[in-house]
Amino acid sequence: MKIRVKLNGQAREDDVEPRLLLVQYLREVAGLTGTHIGCETSICGACTVLLNGEAVKSCTLFAVQADGAEILTIEGLAQDGELHPLQQGFWEEHGLQCGFCTPGMILAAHQLLRRNPHPSREEIRKGLEGNLCRCTGYQHIVKAVEWAAQKIG
C-alpha cells in the first residue's frame, strides 16, 4: 500500500506492506534508527514519536495508519544544528545513561510540556508514566524536563 507522510519536515512516499508497523517503517524503510523498540506491546515507550504533534507508541501502530500524517522523530528535533531545550536539558541534568529509552522519553516530555508548560515534579512523573527507564531512577529525567521547561519559558 502507498503511504504519504511528512517525516521530520520532509515529504516522502513509500510502498509498504499492510502489516508493517510504524516503528519498522521508521527504522527499516526510512532508516531512522533513533526510534527504539523495547517491548513490542506499548508498555515501555521507547518507540514514542510525535504523530501530528501527539505522542504515540509507534510499535503498536501500522505504518498505513500514519498515511497523510506529520511525524517527528528524535532525529528531527534539533533545528539547524541546535539542540532542542529538552535534548539540552537531558544533557545538562544527566537525564540518560544507556540512552535506549531517551528518544521516546524526550518526545513524551515534548508532548507533556506542550500541554503543561510549567509542570510540577509530580506532574512530570505522572506525564511520563508511559515511558520506562531502567537506568536513571527517573530523578534526573524529572530535572531534565524542569530544565527544559524553564528554558522554553
Binding site: 502489516r19 527504522r27 531512522l32 534508527t33 533513533g34 526510534t35 527504539h36 523498540i37 523495547g38 517491548c39 513490542e40 506491546t41 508498555i43 515501555c44 521507547a46 522523530t73 528524535i74 532525529e75 528535533l77 534539533a78 539542540l83 535534548q87 537531558f90 544533557w91 545538562e92 544527566h94 540518560l96 545513561q97 544507556c98 540512552g99 535506549f100 529509552c101 531517551t102 528518544p103 524526550i106 515534579r121 509530580e122 512530570i124 512523573r125 505522572k126 511520563l128 508514566e129 515511558n131 520506562l132 527507564c133 531502567r134 537506568c135 536513571t136 531512577g137 527517573y138 530523578q139 534526573h140 529525567i141 524529572v142
Partner: protein
C-alpha cells in the same frame, strides 16, 4: 593545582544519544544480511520426540532451519566459567537436543531474508513433546524422591558450599545469648535492560574472519568463547559491543543464541542478525536472586551479634550460564555486612529446577547478603526492644580497625560506618520521625522508618579470586596533533566512563578535556580486556588508565627535560604545557608529542612514539558502604505501601564526577526499591512463566518514587592509587532492606516482625487485618 577529578562534568556520550545517532546492535544493516528467529520450548520439562521443520522450510523467504540435532557436535556448548569443587555441570547445548528443561529454551532456529518471515516460520515448526514432571520448587527438589531436572545426574543438587569461621562451640555453650530464627525469601527478578539482547554474526569465508556485534558487557570474554564455540581461530574473531542499552549483569554472559548465530553465518557465508523480543527476554535472558534463607542470629542482651548461621537454598534454574553457581557464593562472602561478627556459618546449596538460569543481576549475591544481615539487625532490635540504629552502632567496627579481616575470609579495605549512619540519621531527621510515628500511631496511622547500613564487595577483583582474570587493561596514546586516545578493556554501557576516564587523562596530562577521546568495546581496537561488571570499571579499569598516564608523563618529562636541559623531576603538566614549577621553562604538549613521535633528537634509551599501557591487577576488592533511611506510610484500609521519603548517604571512596555517582545511586535505588515493593518473576507450579510481558512484570515507573535525598562521604580506598571504590551496584544493594525494614516497622503494632517481598497490598492488608498467628 585545580583538578578535574571531582568535577561535575557533562557526559561525552550524550550528544549522540540525545539525537538518536548512537548505534545499538539492531541499528546496523549489513550487505546480504539475513535474520534469525527461534522456536522455543512451551514445556518446563519434556522429551523432544520430533521436530518437524518441513512447513517452515517451505515458506517463501526462508533460507534454512536448524535443530539441536543439526548442530550437535558442530557448535560448542554454552559455557560456564565458575569453577567450584564438586560442581555438577550439565551439558548445555545452544539448541535443545533430546530434552527441554525450561519454558523458552531454544529448540530450533529459522533463518530468512526478512525478520517477520523468520518469525512466521517459527510458528510453522511442529515440535512433538513427551512432557516430564517439572521441578519448580527448589526446596521440594531436594527430596530424595523428587523428579530430576537432569536424568544423568544423581539428584538436583549442583553444589554444596560451606563457609565457617570462629569458635562455634563457645557460642553455642553461651546460654546468655538470645537466638533469633527467621526464614526469608529473596524472590526471583528479571533484569529488564531496556534494550533486549541482540547479535549480528558475520563470517567472511575468504579471510576466515568472524565479526560479531553483540549487546554485551564483556566483548573480550565473549570473543574467546565464541571462537571456541564456532571453531574460528580466536585471532581472527572480533567482537564489537556497540552502544549497549543497559545490562545490569544480564549481558555479562555468553548465550546459546550467539553461538547459533556464529554457526549459521559460517554455514551461509552471510551476516546473520538476531534481535531478542521482550517476551524472549523475560523467558530466556538470565534472572536474578531467587534464594531461600534460613537464618539464626546469636545476640547478647545488649544487642551485640556474636554469631550468624545461614542455610541458603539457591534456585539456579535448569542450566549454568556463565557465572550461575558463583553468584550465591557471594552471599556467603558478605553475610556479616558492616558488622564485626566473629562467628559465621553458611551452607549454600545450589539447586537445579526447570526454570531459566539465575546469574548476575545488579548486586549479584550481595543484595541477598545485605538483605539477610540488615533484616537480622532489625530482628535483633525488635526482639530486644532496642532502637535499630543503636543495635547497628553496637556492632560496627571502629574506623581504626581497617583493614579488617573477617571470618568470611575477606578483608574490608577502609570504612567509617559511624559517620555515614550519623549523617543519614541527621539528613532524615530520624529522632523527629520516631516522634511523628508515635503520634500518628495513636491516630491509627502507620508510618515506618527503615534503616540499612550496608557494605558491598566490588571492584572485581584480584585475579586469584576471579574465574577468568580480574585485572584490567588501559592504554593512552598521544597523536602528533596532541590529541589523546584512550583505550579501555572495560565495556561501559550507560555508566559514563567515556567521561570519567577522560577526566582522569585530561587531569593527568594537563590537556583540554575535549582533546581526550575514550574508546572501548571493540576487541580489534582494544587488544585485551575483561569488561564492565561488579562495580569494577573505574576502580580497576580507571586505575589502569591512571597508571598508563603516569608512564606517559614519565616519558614525556624525560623528552622535555632533555630538550630544555633540565632534570625531568622538575616538570609539571599544566594547561597544555610541560613546564618547570616556576613556569620559566616550558614546552607545549604538542611540541613534546612531536619530539617523541618524529624522534629527531630523543634522549638516549628512549623509544620513539607516545603510547603507554598498563594492565592493572588489584591487590584486593574494595568495599563501598552507606546508610539509607526509608520512610513509608502503610494504608490501614488497603494495605498499600507508599514510599514517602528516601535518604541515602553513600561512600564509594573518592568521587571523580558527582553527577555520575548520583546517577548510579538513583538507578540502583530504583532497582532495589523495585525488588522490595513490586518486582517478582513468577513461575506457576507447572513451570510456566506467569510474568512474561511488561504488562505482568512490574518494572517501576516514574511516579512510584519519591525524591531521593542523597549525600556522600568519601573514605578513600587504599587498594588503588585513585582511592576509588565503585558505585554501580551500591544503590541496589543498600535499598531493598531499608524499605522492608520500614514496612515491618510500620506494622510493629500488629505484631509483625517479618514480611516477604514484594510488599504487595494484599499481603500487608491481611497482616493488618488478621495480625500474626502466634
Amino acid at each position: 593545582m585545580p583538578t578535574l577529578l571531582g568535577e561535575r562534568i557533562k557526559r561525552k556520550e550524550d550528544p549522540r544519544l540525545i539525537q538518536g545517532r548512537g548505534h545499538y546492535v539492531d541499528d546496523f544493516k549489513l550487505d546480504g544480511m539475513v535474520h534469525m528467529a527461534f522456536a522455543r520450548s512451551v514445556h518446563a520439562h519434556a522429551r523432544v520426540k520430533r521436530v518437524n521443520t518441513e512447513a517452515a522450510r517451505a515458506l517463501p523467504g526462508v533460507i534454512a532451519v536448524y535443530t539441536g540435532a543439526d548442530l550437535k557436535g558442530k557448535v560448542g556448548l554454552v559455557p560456564c566459567a565458575a569453577g567450584m569443587e564438586g560442581l555438577k555441570v550439565p551439558e548445555h547445548p545452544c539448541l535443545a537436543i533430546d530434552t527441554v528443561n525450561y519454558v523458552g529454551e531454544p529448540v530450533a532456529a529459522v533463518v530468512a531474508h526478512d525478520r517477520s518471515v523468520a518469525r512466521d516460520a517459527v510458528d510453522l515448526i511442529e515440535i512433538d513433546y513427551d512432557p516430564l514432571p517439572a521441578v519448580v520448587d527448589p526446596e521440594k527438589a531436594l527430596a530424595p524422591d523428587a523428579p530430576r531436572v537432569h536424568e544423568k545426574l544423581a539428584d538436583n543438587v549442583a553444589f554444596v558450599a560451606k563457609l565457617e569461621g570462629g569458635d562455634w562451640k563457645a557460642v553455642e555453650a553461651d546460654s546468655s545469648l538470645k537466638v533469633i530464627k527467621q526464614r526469608m525469601i529473596n524472590q526471583r527478578l528479571a533484569p529488564v535492560s531496556m534494550e533486549t539482547r541482540g547479535v549480528i554474526a558475520s563470517y567472511s569465508p575468504g579471510e576466515d574472519t568472524l565479526t560479531v556485534w553483540s549487546s554485551t558487557q564483556i566483548p573480550h570474554i565473549l570473543k574467546t568463547q565464541l571462537a571456541l564455540m564456532s571453531g574460528v581461530d580466536e585471532a581472527r574473531t572480533r567482537v564489537i559491543a556497540p552502544e549497549v542499552g543497559g545490562g545490569f549483569g544480564s549481558k555479562l554472559n555468553v548465550y546459546g543464541e550467539e553461538g547459533v548465530a556464529c554457526y549459521v553465518s559460517k554455514q551461509l557465508g552471510k551476516p546473520v542478525k538476531w534481535i531478542e523480543g521482550r517476551r524472549e527476554n523475560l523467558l530466556g535472558t538470565i534472572h536474578g536472586r531467587d534464594q531461600i534463607n534460613d537464618l539464626e542470629v546469636y545476640a547478647t542482651p545488649e544487642g551485640k551479634v556474636v554469631g550468624l548461621k545461614c542455610w541458603i537454598i539457591a534456585d539456579l534454574g535448569a542450566y549454568h550460564q556463565l557465572l550461575t553457581p558463583a553468584i550465591p557464593t557471594l552471599t556467603a562472602l558478605m553475610i556479616v555486612g558492616s558488622y564485626n561478627i566473629r562467628n559465621v556459618f553458611v551452607e549454600t546449596k545450589g539447586v537445579f529446577t526447570n526454570k531459566m538460569a539465575t546469574d548476575a543481576y545488579r548486586g549479584a549475591g550481595r543484595p541477598e547478603a545485605t538483605y539477610i544481615i540488615e533484616r537480622a539487625m532489625d530482628l535483633v532490635a525488635h526482639e530486644l526492644k532496642l532502637d535499630p540504629a543503636a543495635v547497628r552502632e553496637v556492632n560496627f567496627p571502629s574506623p581504626k580497625e581497617f583493614p579488617l579481616s573477617l571470618p568470611t575470609g575477606v578483608t574490608y579495605d577502609s570504612a567509617n560506618y559511624q559517620k555515614t549512619l550519623k549523617k543519614a540519621l541527621k539528613l532524615s531527621g530520624y529522632a523527629k520521625l520516631r516522634k511523628e510515628q508515635e503520634r500518628l500511631r495513636k491516630k491509627g496511622k502507620y508510618i515506618g522508618i527503615g534503616l540499612s547500613t550496608y557494605v558491598e564487595i566490588c571492584a572485581m577483583g584480584p585475579s586469584s579470586r576471579m574465574p577468568a582474570g580480574g585485572w584490567e587493561f588501559g592504554a593512552v596514546h598521544v597523536d602528533p596533533t596532541g590529541k589523546v586516545t584512550v583505550l579501555s578493556g572495560t565495556s561501559p554501557h550507560g555508566q559514563g566512563e567515556e567521561t570519567s576516564f577522560a577526566q582522569i587523562v585530561a587531569d593527568g596530562l594537563g590537556v583540554p578535556f575535549d582533546d581526550v577521546t575514550v574508546f572501548h568495546g571493540d576487541t580489534f581496537q582494544v587488544p585485551i580486556g575483561i569488561g564492565t561488571f561488579g562495580s569494577r570499571t573505574t576502580a580497576v579499569g580507571g586505575t589502569a588508565i591512571y597508571e598508563a598516564v603516569l608512564r606517559l608523563k614519565k616519558k614525556m618529562s624525560r623528552i622535555a627535560a632533555h630538550k630544555l636541559g633540565i632534570k625531568p623531576g622538575e616538570l609539571e603538566f599544566k594547561d597544555g604545557k610541560i613546564q618547570t614549577a616556576d613556569g620559566q621553562k616550558s614546552l607545549s604538549f604538542v611540541e613534546v608529542a612531536g619530539e617523541a613521535i618524529f624522534a629527531k633528537q630523543l634522549p638516549p634509551g628512549i623509544e620513539p612514539g607516545l603510547s603507554e599501557q598498563c594492565v592493572f591487577e588489584p591487590s584486593n576488592y574494595t568495599f563501598p558502604f552507606g546508610a539509607h533511611v526509608a520512610v513509608v506510610e502503610v494504608d490501614a484500609e488497603t494495605g498499600e505501601v507508599r514510599l514517602r521519603n528516601y535518604y541515602a548517604v553513600d561512600d564509594c571512596g573518592r568521587i571523580l564526577n558527582p553527577m555520575l555517582v548520583d546517577g548510579q545511586i538513583h538507578g540502583g535505588l530504583a532497582q532495589g526499591i523495585g525488588q522490595a515493593m513490586w518486582e517478582e518473576h513468577v513461575y506457576d507450579e507447572n513451570g510456566q512463566l506467569v510474568t512474561g510481558t511488561l504488562m505482568d512484570y512490574a518494572v517501576p515507573k516514574s511516579f512510584q518514587f519519591p525524591w531521593f535525598d542523597t549525600e556522600a562521604t568519601e573514605t578513600r580506598s587504599p587498594v588503588n592509587p585513585l582511592g576509588v571504590k565503585g558505585v554501580g551496584e551500591a544503590g541496589t544493594i543498600g535499598s531493598t532492606p531499608a524499605v522492608v525494614n520500614a514496612v515491618v516497622d510500620a506494622l510493629a503494632p500488629f505484631g509483625v516482625k517479618h514480611v516477604d517481598m514484594p510488599l504487595k497490598p494484599e499481603k500487608i492488608w491481611r497482616l493488618m487485618k488478621d495480625g500474626v498467628k502466634a
